[in-house]
Amino acid sequence: MATLDGFREARAAWQEEPKAITKIGKAVALVVFSLLILIPFLEVLATSVASGDQITKNGGWVLWPEHPTFGAYSQILNGGVVTRSILVSIGITVVGTAISLFGTITLAYALGRPHFKLRRPLTLAVLFTFLFPTGMLPGYLVVKQLGLLNSYWSLILPVAINVFNLVVVRGFFQNIPEELYEQARIDGASEWQQMVRIVLPLSRAVIAVVGLFYAVSYWNSFFSAILYLNDSTKWPVQAVLQLYVTQGADLSGSTASTFSDSGSAQALQSTQMAVVVLATLPVLLAYPFVQRHFTKGVLTGAVKS
């Protein structure tokens, strides 16, 4: 770029070397912003290992436990109920995510192929469930009619395919150049082989993202379990843990509904926070492994060129 003598080369403002004060300002802003995110996490973690007396003295929250104790975790994990429910949750999450991914990928592939004759009516049928979702009662009646009550399948099959995820995956598949399909067809690849050998290797990002969406959704789900599983030993961890969080709250529907009842011993704040830690830890651990796919996966799938 041409420059005038005596003047620095013209550069955009953001290309200039920032002044020291600006650097400090940015650093402070970043630190403050990070603390705003970190402190609540630390507070939850610290409160979960704080003593009851300190929590009461502090009005419910602790940032630095004076006498750390794992009593709350011990109380929750004692008795085997939570341990079993964690295994149930892991099973449902793994099996459910696998089934959901299989169903979503195969359906998205079919709906994305231009020569598939039933593409439009099937798309309409799928979108119909998105626009007019099943209510709780019809859903329950269908699950009952299918004989799925009190079965783990009731937590997986009714929610196996999420239309939003399906649309994202279909959009991603449609962005793959048609020439690649043609080349594969010329080489004698069947539809299945085209999907497995061409499409899937190119779609790792979107599959990782959608897989995480499914996994998080299965992991966090608790209401279906309460609705469909009468046997509480089959409940996943979130259904069990939510009772620790709501412990001591009111009996819903009672005429004194904003107050606690006599029978409800109020849960210690440490117990409730230990529940929060236990419930969120697996998801927090999983995120870093798929985080790098996030932007690419969602954005690419969302726009059809």
Binding site: F128, L227, T258
Partner: protein, 544 residues
Amino acid sequence: MTDRHHLTRRGLLTAGAGTAAGAALLLTGCDAPRAIRATNIGKKLAEWPDYVPAKAPKPDFPGNDAKGIQSAYLTYPTDLVTAVPEKPGNGETVTVALVTNEPVPPPLGRNTMWRAVNEALGVNLKLNFIPSASLSQKLAVMMASGDVPDIITCSDGVPTFEDFIATDLQDLTDHLSGSAIRDYPNLANLPTYSWQGVGLINGGIYGVPIQRPLPTPEMICNLDAFDKVGGLSDWTPDQFTQRMKALTGKKHWASGPVGKTDVDRHAGWRGAPNSWVLDSSGGFHPTEATAVYKDALAYIQKLVKDGVFYPDQVATPEAKTLMYGQTLYSMADTLPAYATNVAAVGSRFRFDFGRPYTIPGVTPKKWDGPGWVNYTVLKKGTPSRIKLMLRILNFLASPFGSKEYELIRFGVEGKHFTRDSHGQIQLSKLSQVENFNTLPLQYVCSPPLVAYFPGQPDAARRVWNYQTETSKYLVKNPSVGLRTAAKDRYGTVTGQILNDAATNIVNGRASVKSWDDALKEWRKQGGDKIAASLREEYAAVHGH
């Protein structure tokens, strides 16, 4: 260019609407049995169950159920009685849907307490735990699917649930009305006000109440703090304000978050009738429309301005934590919750209750609660099956001081508890997992609550004194026990209108004058219809 297969937005919506309409028509054509509309109008009314106090160890301070005073025990009785001489069952399996607010217990195979209760009952209890927050949804799917267990704990709040009860569940009138209840002595020990609180459905008795004392909710206070500023009684509204202000400051507040409950309590103390004004012709008018209620609104608005209420809206458990830490010195809570509050603070400070203040020429009122927290209904069955269910409920209602109560409440001696040299219960480590909270059979059926607080006899004395001193002020809510279609349909919306308006006024976001607009809206949105329906239902039940 639009190709003819192209799906337009309008086309999709039309198709959707058409399909939905078709489905609705198909569904209405189904041959489903028509639900019976529950009403007592024009029905022959069942006689209330006889009240026969059960045999139990003598309390240190006797109660009076009619006056809403609990029996108080300073120590755990050592002369336990046998309340149910014979096992209720003979190996039958009984399914129970019970509401819980606690973590679920270990399964039957690893639960000593559950097995011991089954053994004592002579049945195999299959428990379906329902978190209280999901109760209304579970009841709704029960109604829709017909999947009904033998015993259901339920509550009002699900629209048309009483219709379901009347249509699909067991009428217990023949088993419980009048002297028939004497076959179940522990159920006969439930006070009449609890039965009346649950009410009649189509003139019959369908629900067995889970009893709660009449006075509720209350202003529960840190007595030690209030004693420093003049105490919790013998006060006028001005003195009340002064003491509350004296306790407020330096990150401490005299009261928990403000709510309509506070206005209700103060309206009562100023003489307002409980929830409804019943006129001489049997008409119902909301107590919120009285001048006294407006006075209470203005009074609370002033107190909020004075800063005596905790400024953030926190839920009851959080408010309790603040109260235990003495950041707050009072809050609204149920009378029975006193037990858990007392246990939580131990000897750090004493709890007591705020007494009504005095205004010359005014007799204060304390509003009764409904006398129950939940009620239990039964699946239809043969007479022998129903008798089995009632024998189970009778067992679970065994009174305080009985061996059966001890099993349900504390578990098995030697496993869940031991006794010290004075015969007092000492809980074991196992009881942290297996206890009456995690196995909440108290919400299937339970005896009248007594005032007994392990290791804190003074706490029992204080609550008994409070009830004795203030029972003369108790007044009933004339709508208790009455269910109407209008209440079902408009109750939630109209309640929210008044609740929101009251919250806005006391927090200074609206003037007291705006209360009239809220009342107009209340009438417009169905309040008048509720009042009219209650008038008819009340006349049918009370005969005038």
